[in-house]
Symmetry: C2
Subunit: 413 residues, 2 copies
C-alpha cells in the first residue's frame, strides 16, 4: 500500500437521486472495509446528511458499524439514503467543506453525484493540496441523464432507461387501444440519452422500419422546430389515426432557447435560474395545445391529444436494471481502492469492454480519470446515435439495449 494518511472517511450523495445511488454508497463502505479499514488506516466512516450542505454544519451519520445485512438492504433501496442536495459549492463554500474535514479528521472524501459533484471534489482536492491538508478526494459517477463525458454510461442511467422503455412499451399499446396523439415528456435537461431510451420500447425483432411507438423522438441535441414538429405529427396521424411521441424536457430551438421557456407563459425558474422542467406538466401540455390548435380541421373536432410527464418516478422506480445494480456497487468499491493505489484524487469511469452488438456478451470495467476531465462538463448524444430530426439510430439501440435488463415480451393480435 502506498503512503496514506490515517484518519476518517466521509461519503456524500448529491443531485437528483437514482434507483441505485445507495448501491454506490454501500460499495464505498465495503471497499473501505476490505481495504483502509482492515489496515487500520481509516477509523470511522461518516455519511454527510444532504451532501456538503449538511456536512459543513457537522450533520453526519456514523456508518462505521452498520452490519452487512442492513447494508445489502439499504443498497437495494432507491433514492439517496443519506439525503441529497442541489448545492453547487464555489470556492468559499469549499473552504467550509475543507474546514469540516479538518474538524472531523476526515482524510478520505467520497462524493457520489454528477458533474457538479465532481467539480466539488476537484475544488476541495486542489484547496487541500494548496493548504497542505492531507486529503484524498474521489468522485463516484451517478446520473440518470447519462451526461458525464468520461463514462460509457453512468450508474443510474440504465435503471431510468429501463423505466422509460417499459413505460413507453405499455403506453404505446394504450395508444393503439384508444387511438389519439400521445406525448410523453422525459427527463434530461441537456442530454437526450434518457428520452432516446423510449426507442427501446419498439419491438426489437423488427426495429428497422418498425412502425411501433414512439414514432417520433425529440432530443435536446436536435434543434426543435415547432412547424416541423406539427408537420411530422400530422403526417403520422393522417396515416394511422394515432401518433406516439417522446419529447425530452430539455428540447430547445435553433438559438438554444428552451422550448419549455418559450412556449410556457410564466415559466418557473429554480434556485439556479433554470426554467423548472421537472415536477411540472407544463411543457407537455403546451405542446399538446399547439397540436390541438394546429391540427383541428376547419369546423371539425380537435384530435384527441394527451400529454404525460413521467416525473420523478423515472429516477427512483424500485425495479432497477440488474446491470446497473452491479455497476453502481462496483463503482463505489472501485473508488474506495484508489487511495491505497497512491491516488490523491480522481473520478471513476465506467468502461465498456464488450457488448455493443446484438449477441455480444456485455462486460464492463472501471478506470480512474482526472477530476478535471469530468468536472462541470456535459456529454451529449453523439451524432452517430441520432437519426434525422426525430429518431435515434441503430447504433444507439445497440448501445442501450444491453444496459436495461430484460424487458417484458408483449404479444399483439
Amino acid at each position: 500500500m502506498k503512503d496514506v494518511p490515517v484518519g476518517n472517511a466521509v461519503i456524500g450523495q448529491s443531485g437528483g437521486p437514482t434507483a441505485v445511488i445507495n448501491q454506490s454508497l454501500v460499495g464505498v463502505i465495503e471497499g473501505l472495509r476490505q481495504g483502509l479499514i482492515a489496515t487500520g488506516t481509516v477509523r470511522r466512516i461518516f455519511g454527510m446528511r444532504h451532501g456538503v450542505k449538511g456536512f459543513v454544519k457537522d450533520e453526519l451519520h456514523d456508518l462505521t458499524g452498520l452490519d452487512q445485512d442492513f447494508l445489502d438492504h439499504l443498497a437495494a433501496t432507491p433514492s439517496a439514503a443519506l439525503g441529497s442536495t442541489r448545492d453547487k459549492p464555489d470556492g468559499p463554500y469549499c473552504e467550509r467543506v475543507l474546514a469540516a474535514c479538518a474538524r472531523h479528521d476526515v482524510r478520505y472524501f467520497y462524493y457520489i453525484g454528477g458533474n457538479d459533484s465532481s467539480d466539488t471534489c476537484r475544488i476541495v482536492s486542489e484547496m487541500a493540496r494548496a493548504t497542505g491538508y492531507e486529503l484524498r478526494c474521489f468522485h463516484v459517477p451517478k446520473t440518470v441523464d447519462n451526461d458525464l463525458v468520461t463514462c460509457d454510461h453512468c450508474p443510474g442511467y440504465p435503471s431510468a432507461a429501463r423505466f422509460v422503455a417499459m413505460a413507453c412499451m405499455a403506453d404505446f399499446l394504450d395508444n393503439i387501444s384508444l387511438p389519439g396523439i400521445k406525448i410523453n415528456v422525459i427527463m434530461g435537461r441537456h442530454a437526450g440519452f434518457l428520452t432516446a431510451a423510449s426507442a427501446l420500447a419498439r419491438r426489437h425483432d423488427r426495429v428497422e422500419g418498425s412502425s411501433d411507438g414512439p414514432q417520433l423522438i425529440y432530443l435536446p441535441e436536435v434543434p426543435f422546430d415547432t412547424d416541423r414538429f406539427v408537420g411530422e405529427v400530422e403526417g403520422i396521424y393522417a396515416r394511422k389515426g394515432r401518433c406516439h411521441i417522446a419529447v425530452s424536457e430539455g428540447i430547445q430551438d435553433a438559438r438554444g432557447e428552451a422550448i419549455g421557456a418559450t412556449l410556457i407563459r410564466g415559466g418557473q425558474t429554480d434556485a439556479h435560474g433554470n426554467v423548472q422542467l421537472s415536477g411540472s406538466g407544463a411543457l407537455g401540455d403546451a405542446l399538446g395545445d399547439v397540436l390541438k390548435a394546429r391540427l383541428t380541421p376547419k369546423g371539425g373536432k380537435p384530435p384527441r391529444v394527451r400529454a404525460d410527464t413521467f416525473g420523478y418516478v423515472q429516477r427512483c422506480w424500485p425495479d432497477p436494471s440488474p446491470i446497473d445494480v452491479r455497476e453502481a456497487r462496483r463503482a463505489g468499491r472501485f473508488a474506495a481502492t484508489l487511495a491505497a493505489r497512491g491516488e490523491r484524487d480522481g473520478s471513476v469511469a465506467v468502461v465498456r469492454v464488450s457488448g455493443g452488438r446484438p449477441g455480444e456478451r456485455y462486460v464492463s470495467d472501471f478506470a480512474r480519470v482526472e477530476l478535471s476531465e469530468v468536472a462541470a462538463k456535459t456529454r451529449h448524444m453523439p451524432p452517430e446515435f441520432i437519426d434525422g430530426a426525430s429518431n435515434v439510430s441503430r447504433a444507439f439501440l445497440d448501445y442501450a439495449l444491453p444496459l436495461v435488463g430484460p424487458l417484458p415480451d408483449l404479444a399483439r393480435l
Copy 2:
C-alpha cells in the same frame, strides 16, 4: 346444460385499458372452449375491434383458432388487445349493435368494461328480448377506478393500486432526499380508491402514527377546501421542511365543482363534456401554483414545490398484481359459463370470501349479478375507508393490502 341457442360469440373491450384486461379476454375464450365450443353450441369466437364502435362496422378479429401458448402470451400483455372505445351507446346505437349480432349470427355477447359497458349489455339484452332475437349478454368487470357497485374490487384496480403504491414509496424517499412539497396527482374521476392506494406506500409495521408519505391524501369523496389544503400543507411543511401529497384528479369542492375546472383557466373538456383530467399536468401544476403563492414568506423564497401526474402508465404498467392477474382471468371464464347455467344475461361480481384482516388468507370468488344492479352506477369510497379530511382509515389498508401483491421492502438509515 340448459336450453341455449347455437351460433357465434363476440367479445369486446371498452373504456380505459388496464394491465389485466387481456386476462379477461383470454378467460372468456377459455371458458367458451371448455363449455359451449366443446358442446358444439358456439361455432366461432369473434373479437370486436375497438368495442362496439368497430363491431357495428363489422370490424372483427376471428379468435376461434388462436393457440393456447399465444393466448397465455396475450393475456400477460397490458392494454386492450382488441382495441377499445369510449363510445357509450344509446338506444339507436344499440340497435346497430343488435343488427351486427344478427349479421354475424352472434348469440353470445361478452363485453369487458366499466359501468358504461354494463349498461350497453343491459340495453342490448333488453332490446334482443323485446325483438325476439335469441341473445345472451354478459358483462365482465374492468376498471382501475374500482367504482363498480357490485364488486368487492374490480379487476384492473389491484394492478393500478400496485403501481401507485410503488411509485409513492419510491417518490417519498425522493422527497426525503431532496426535501420540498411534492404533489402526486392520481387517476379516479369519481372514486378515490386508486388515490387511497397511495397510503400503501407507508411502512405497514407502524401505520398508526406513521409520518411516512403521503402525509396528506385528497379524495373526490371529501369536499376539497383550498384554504384547508394550504393550511394542512403549511403545518407539515413547517414541522418537517417537506410534505408529500396524493391528490385525486377528481377532487371537487363542496358544491360538486371539479377543482380541476375551477383552478385551471381554459380547462379542456372531452367528447362527453367532462373536464379533461387525465393526460394533462394541469391540476397538479395549478395546486402547486396555489401553494407557491400562499406559502412564500414575505420577502422570502418560495418553497420548492413539484407536481407529477402519474398518467396513463398507472393503468398499463407491465408488472401487474398476481391476484389481479388470476382474478381477471377467472372473471372472464366465469362469464363464459353463465349461459350454460341458463342465464340470459348478467354481470360478474368479484366477491371476497376472506382476507380483510392482517394475517388472514385472501380468498375470492365470483357471482352473477343483474346488469341493472351495476349499470351506470358509481361506487364511492365508503365512509369507513376515510379518515377525516385528508387520510384513509385502517379499514381501507386492510381492504387494499391483500390485493396489490408483494411490495418492495425498503430500508432507511
